[in-house]
Assembly symmetry: none
Homo-oligomer: 209 residues x 4
DNA sequence: GATGAATGAGTGTTCATTCAT
DNA sequence: GATGAATGAACACTCATTCAT
């Protein structure tokens, strides 16, 4: 009777009490930890519930299925990356192009420096479901959007190439667990790559078919 | 690298007779077809055996476990890519830098244009096991090795950035099933990216820390 | 029969206040609706509580367990059938035997014509627990009792055969969702069956062992 | 390779070896026993496998799902009933109508005299899925078919009423575990019911609307 | 060598029920 | 009295792998 009218499109419970919010957080944290420790193969619903200190039933009160947990985690991580971008890259907007690019590169690198294996697994799971666009999209459009202010409009392919070249390289470094992931030299090369490509796009002399 | 013969140096039988080689081939082909049709989730050993027209027991006569099949398939695909590189990129070696880069890009693109889903699944499975280095390595070192002939020595990081930027971008296009994967515009941008980066590395004016 | 009041004589609260009675009614109505819409498989206590606009805890304040709800619903439906019989069959008592039989048949058919799926599910659930006697009993004894007034005393077996033949045929029509359930032809045949059997019992020439 | 081409429309294995046939039989027998002992509620796939002395995986090698086991059992029981009908009712064909009806009634009663609870559960399960027509149909059409030789063609409703009145009454006796199920008096009344109805249908004087 | 029947640990998921708030 | 978050036993089902034939 007279429900508070908060019930969303998806049928699962939305936490209204403090305890419930804590539970959701515990589940996501447990998921991240398990991914971190054992990768995607170790991620079972029972394991998540156990590590979250929650019964399996509770887990299903907040998430439709195993996948939904992964998705929620991915969204959370993406939101964190966007936040970092906003915090680090935007303030650099008035400075030189190089500074701006470097800020963006560093924000992305930072995003991957924390829980590598967890991120790896999340990324993997997301890609396996064709949800990449939904989740990577915001980050890419952020990059493109804020660059177009001082730069020629990039084509669809150019935005894609620039964002994926950077993220793909970082991703590879994460996946292959390259030792130089945290080095300044690696960051420098990424910046060089982005600047060079942007320069080539702006002055389209070469590389014409 | 240079393994003695087709199948791993493990305890399982190494096919010495024609029929055995056919069986192995049938299993690998069945695996590729199933991956292509249904992705990694559809790949069960029973399904592979059935499609290969072989009993499940026979399958285990040639492969230690499910993973070994995937690995063998990955090796086969990598070998094909290397072959393409050798065939397409090497003959272009005497021509302009752009031609050489374009040949390499096209060879890599070609490698991904066939069985996208199968490749996607193989790549996914391989990455999930941290075997990327072993398998991607040869391709990367090929690129680096043959470029250094007419080019300044690249640092470890630079080889990594160049190869992974290209492969990562292509990989992303495959994974996200981007419509422009087969377009000339996409190939052009990849070439532009590689040339720009190589140019920046050669003339290291900007982007120095 | 003549139970003191609505709900079982068990340990759970007997509604004494208006609001409580409404709650019980809401729960029963919700149960019927869910059975109607999705059958027995869709009947979960949580679904009932939700549709009744009541918390799951409240539901358990009025019913011992899920089964008790089903039982209460069954009793309610049986009471309705008995009421219909009393209303339709008794007034016909002074008329011809055929009229009386037809009135009884129609009353029974009517009882099944409303919420077929709900009835089906209730009947199913009841039968599954061997409670048929308790619930079908009253109806059967009604038929037998009121017929014996103007008719030779029937043996135990005969009462059983007559009542179950009619109810069993109707039940089968409901369960199999026969299209002619609502047809006049079907009702005619049921009447014919009952009259023929009654006639044969009265004039026991044939069928003697 | 070169499979014997026995593979049926459903994907599950059809037993080709003797051992396999035994396994299927063991599973069906276990199912009947469990139903007999504990009813439908006790029928879990694990219980069936355990009682059959078979692993749960084996069970699923021969049956698509739990339901399929029940269906197979139902079919087996129905086949038994049909066999009994053929054996008992057909030889009586040249004798009096009463003898023929009695033979049919007895065959049906016999069918329910064995494992009452198992039958009860099977019947219940079948009805719950609307498969009644498929399974009861043959028996009903047998009754109708062999009667029409010496008797007026019955309408759809009449065949239904006759067969379901008999089976429904027997079913009720089984479900309610009536003590007279095995008595001669009960059989007599069933015969009387069938004969009376057939007589009334043949001489349609009464029961016209 | 080949077969395929058998295995069983393990998975995701449901839902009746409890009890602290 | 009412709430709804939490519980966890139980379930149906999968699939990599073994081994007697």
């Amino acid at each position: 009777m007279a429900r508070p009218a908060q019930v969303p499109a998806n049928k699962r419970r939305i936490p209204r009490q403090a305890r419930a919010a804590e539970t959701v957080e515990a589940i996501l944290e447990a998921t991240a930890q398990i991914l971190e420790a054992g990768g995607l193969a170790a991620l079972t619903t029972n394991a998540v519930a156990a590590r979250a200190g929650v019964s399996i039933g509770t887990l299903y009160q907040y998430f439709d299925d195993k996948n939904a947990i992964l998705l929620a985690l991915a969204r959370r991580e993406m939101a964190a990356t966007l936040g970092r971008l906003a915090r680090e890259a935007l303030p650099a907007a008035e400075r030189s192009p190089e500074d701006r690019v470097r800020a963006a590169v560093r924000a992305t690198l930072d995003a991957f420096r924390g829980r590598m294996r967890a991120r790896k697994a999340v990324v993997q799971a997301i890609l396996a479901q064709g949800l990449a666009v939904e989740l990577v999209g915001p980050v890419a459009s952020f990059m493109a959007g804020h660059r177009s202010a001082a730069m020629p409009n990039l084509t669809r392919e150019q935005v894609f190439v620039l964002s994926r070249a950077l993220m793909g390289t970082i991703r590879a470094a994460v996946m292959e667990e390259q030792p130089f992931l945290r080095s300044a030299a690696f960051e420098d090369e990424l910046v060089r790559l982005a600047l060079a490509y942007l320069g080539a796009v702006t002055a389209p002399s070469a590389a014409a078919r």
